[in-house]
């Protein structure tokens, strides 16, 4: 697999994503500069976490206009894989790759903590290596992670199995107490209708090594590898 990690000027999880792909998965990783138009034939585009353009106006609002995003959108429309993590999820929503929006955490505070997620769907190209209902522990670190969409969109996401991860308590309840940001229906991650774009607020790339406390992100990347090996390419 060749993964391209988009580097916006204020990206700050770009190196972590690169490390994940290159050093941990042993796959090819390249950076994609925001001012470029060349996707370098990557199979997977990662929109990494960070504060793409400062995010003072609205997280991800400005990033979607960067030159590289035109290519990322085209790649997604062709069925190419896109993984938006944290700020990348926000950008994907702003760019219309995913429905809804991510608003200020209900606490109005940044939240950095390991959280438990329930895998809601394994019928995606990002989650086939989990099992349904599996509870995984992955860190979040964001100030604007409250997933919001209108009622119709929410109903459609649920009906079509597009809700992929939900914040839950250790015993699996999607309770308010387990919701770090006030997301509607405890939504932590969703895929688009075509299933090739995943956006999630938690950071799977921070959960790949025992030394860092969790390896629960590994199946996500393995799922991607699996899906690409299966010949479903852009």
């Amino acid at each position: 697999m060749k993964a391209g990690i988009v580097r916006f000027p204020g990206s700050n999880c770009d190196e972590d994503a690169f490390h994940a792909i290159a050093d941990i998965l042993g796959q090819e990783a390249v950076y994609l500069w925001h001012k470029d138009h060349d996707l370098q034939n990557v199979d997977l585009v990662i929109l990494p976490g960070g504060f793409s353009y400062g995010d003072y106006l609205r997280a991800g609002a400005i990033a979607r206009f960067s030159p590289i995003m035109q290519e990322v959108v085209a790649h997604a429309k062709r069925g190419g894989l896109v993984l938006g993590i944290c700020n990348g999820f926000q950008i994907a929503c702003e760019a219309g790759l995913l429905p809804g929006a991510l608003l200020r955490n209900v606490s109005l505070r940044f939240v950095s903590a390991p959280v438990d997620l329930r895998v809601e769907s394994i019928a995606t190209r990002f989650t086939s290596q989990y099992h349904v209902g599996q509870i995984i522990n992955v860190p979040v670190a964001h100030g604007d992670g409250r997933y919001t969409a209108d009622a119709d969109t929410l109903a459609r996401l649920e009906a079509e199995g597009q809700v992929v991860f939900r914040y839950v308590s250790a015993n699996g309840d999607a309770s308010d107490a387990a919701n770090p940001n006030g997301s509607q229906r405890n939504i932590a991650g969703i895929v688009n209708a075509e299933g090739n774009v995943l956006g999630m607020m938690p950071h799977p790339e921070r959960a790949l090594e025992t030394a860092l406390g969790s390896v629960d992100g590994i199946p996500l990347f393995q799922s991607i590898l699996e899906s690409l090996a299966g010949g479903v390419r852009a």
Partner: protein, 591 residues
């Protein structure tokens, strides 16, 4: 060339004893200045001197004492005197680290004060050529029962978090203490640690006659100029425009500046780089010239500004954030501009390194300030005062610590323990550190919540242990023991995580040093710190001094905070501080 061509600007206020005093320059210092110049200084020069001879820039009350601290060890690559200290961690890797206070700005505007404190300490580290990999902070507030304290506390925490989170440097540890002595004077000390290859170390030394001096990064505005008290009818701007402006942090610009600076340093196009921090352009340029033993000339009209009509005085003293001063190699100006442009930032040539041993500031062709050579820095007065312990503290110390009357409603041990655990200083600080991204950079092996943070050095099997510790009450009661204990506490925390202590940085937060009892605390605490550092083979590689932390209720507890770096030779040595499983034996070590 003589200095006779220095001109005061039309509209500058007259140099009167009152004006000199308002700038915090004593009669003695003013006399020394006039002798140095051989003439009356201009308004611009008064501004420059007020900044350079301030305690913050000159350490005039603390330098003689600081000189007694141990600073050398085979692994110390850079000791005090640079933007940050640097130690080798082996295999060609080095760690740069430094601590900085932003106490006064945070007392006025907690959010921006704390945020810009983080910004400043990040710049100190990345100007050395190191990529920041961790932040810590040490905070002191009055009791949380006061609404104002709660406002300060939440503002400071949010400011620290928002800045570090945006730049993408994990905040991995720190401490928070609540005590009435800090009620009017919160302490906000921030520490940054960076990683680099030893051969990438860059020093802020101006060199090479003819090399251009460039201002890079954000534009210069009227931020933080202490011009308010000097507003005079003669000045052209309205008094509204003269109000001192709080510095506002822009972490996004900082992130750009960080990337651009590291790229610049690695590019070979520059010879030196320094943060324009406290006293901005003035102190950065004068200090770089002094270290290089060269002259500099700067034309303020070339400095990119944010507002029209700024005077040389304002441009020189502005504390606008996210700016750097760079000495480029002659002929490489465009290369520097290109790197900055890649990161959507500006770079402008504003001056030059010159052979003539002067520090000269011009406004176009007019010389508005000129000082002979580096004397501006080297001839700053230094004061050694007579220390004297306060009688009240002496008496307090003489009391038998076991001789305490129980509280009226004191019940059993469980009740006492609960009360202790509920006290804000002892209670969990989760509310604080949940607001800090502690896991970005995927290297945080132990984050907030452990005795010391552990950050692995990616690409090696090593890790560093980091902590920040201080105990003002202890230092107040016994300055020398307290100074020793602060270093020892840090060393214990570092050791518990599996590391050998290597070096410290420190922030001396004290009251007014002109008071003999404060001077006593300062000299004793420094002596104690030095003793502990010597015994523990952890030299001091830098630090910061914040004096005059007083308000009408009195001075703060004397609070040296110690930031320590320890080295863990193998990841296998990383040791957790939490109880691991039922049935494990608990052993108490030490006596």
């Amino acid at each position: 060339m003589t200095s006779s061509h220095v001109q005061s600007r039309p509209g500058d206020p007259a140099i009167t004893p009152a004006l000199v005093a308002e700038h915090g320059i004593t009669e003695f210092e003013y006399e020394r200045l006039v002798n140095m110049l051989g003439r009356t200084p201009t308004f611009t020069e008064i501004g420059v001197v007020s900044a350079l001879w301030s305690e913050h820039c000159s350490y005039k009350h603390s330098r003689p004492m600081l000189k007694t601290l141990p600073t050398k060890a085979p692994w110390v690559l850079q000791g005090p005197g640079e933007n940050a200290g640097v130690i080798s961690v082996g295999d060609g890797w080095a760690v740069a680290f430094k601590i900085e206070s932003h106490n006064h700005p945070s007392a006025v505007e907690p959010y921006q004060g704390a945020a810009t404190g983080v910004g400043g300490i990040l710049r100190d580290v990345f100007t050395m050529g190191a990529r920041p990999i961790a932040l810590l902070n040490s905070l002191r507030f009055g009791p949380l029962t006061s609404p104002r304290v709660r406002w300060l506390f939440s503002g400071v925490v949010k400011g620290i978090g928002d800045y570090g989170n945006c730049v993408g440097v994990p905040t991995v540890g720190g401490e928070v203490v609540f005590d009435p002595s800090y009620e009017g004077n919160p302490l906000v000390n921030a520490m940054c640690v960076g990683l680099m290859r030893e051969d990438e170390l860059m020093r802020a030394v101006a060199e090479g006659v003819g090399n251009p001096i460039m201002a890079v990064g954000a534009r210069t505005g009227r931020d933080g100029i202490h011009g308010a008290s000097f507003a005079s009818e003669d000045l052209s701007e309205s008094s509204e425009a003269k109000r001192p402006m709080v510095q506002v942090g822009d972490p996004f610009t900082e992130k750009l500046l960080l990337e651009a600076s590291l790229e610049l340093i690695r590019s070979g196009h520059i010879v030196a780089i320094q943060d324009m921090g406290a006293a901005g352009l003035t102190s950065s340029s004068a200090e770089m010239a002094e270290r290089g033993d060269v002259g500099v000339t700067i034309d303020v009209t070339k400095v990119p500004v944010r507002e029209q009509g700024m005077t040389p005085y304002e441009i020189l003293l502005s504390e606008s954030q996210e700016r750097m001063l760079v000495v480029a190699k002659q002929g490489h100006e465009d290369d520097v501009r290109a790197i900055l442009a890649k990161w959507d930032l500006e770079a402008a040539v504003i001056g030059e390194v010159i052979a003539e041993p002067v520090y000269r500031v011009t406004e176009g062709d007019t010389v508005v300030a000129e000082f002979p050579g580096s004397r501006l820095v080297t001839e700053c007065p230094q004061y050694v005062l007579e220390p004297k312990e306060s009688e009240a503290l002496k008496a307090a110390r003489a009391r038998n610590p076991l001789d305490v009357t129980p509280l009226d409603d004191e019940r059993d041990h469980a009740w006492t323990l609960e009360r202790l655990l509920a006290s804000p200083t002892i209670a969990s600080k989760r509310w604080v550190w949940q607001q800090y991204d502690s896991t970005v950079r995927t290297s945080t092996v132990r984050g907030p919540g452990s005795d010391a943070a552990v950050v692995r050095l990616r690409g090696t099997d090593k890790a560093i242990a980091l902590c920040i510790d201080g105990n003002g009450r202890h230092v107040a009661l016994s300055p020398r023991n307290g100074g020793r204990a602060a270093v020892c506490e840090a060393a214990r925390n570092v050791a518990c995580s599996g590391a050998r202590p290597k070096a410290i940085t420190n922030n001396l937060n004290f009251g007014n040093p002109k008071k003999p009892e404060v001077y006593f605390q300062l000299s004793e605490a420094i002596a104690g710190m030095g003793e502990a550092c010597t015994v523990l083979e952890s030299p001091v590689t830098g630090g910061n001094v914040s004096l005059y932390n007083e308000n009408p209720q009195g001075a703060i507890h004397p609070t040296p905070t110690i930031g320590m770096v320890g080295l863990i030779e193998s990841m296998a040595h990383v040791t957790p501080s939490a109880f691991q499983q039922a049935g494990d034996e608990i052993v108490l070590l030490g006596d």
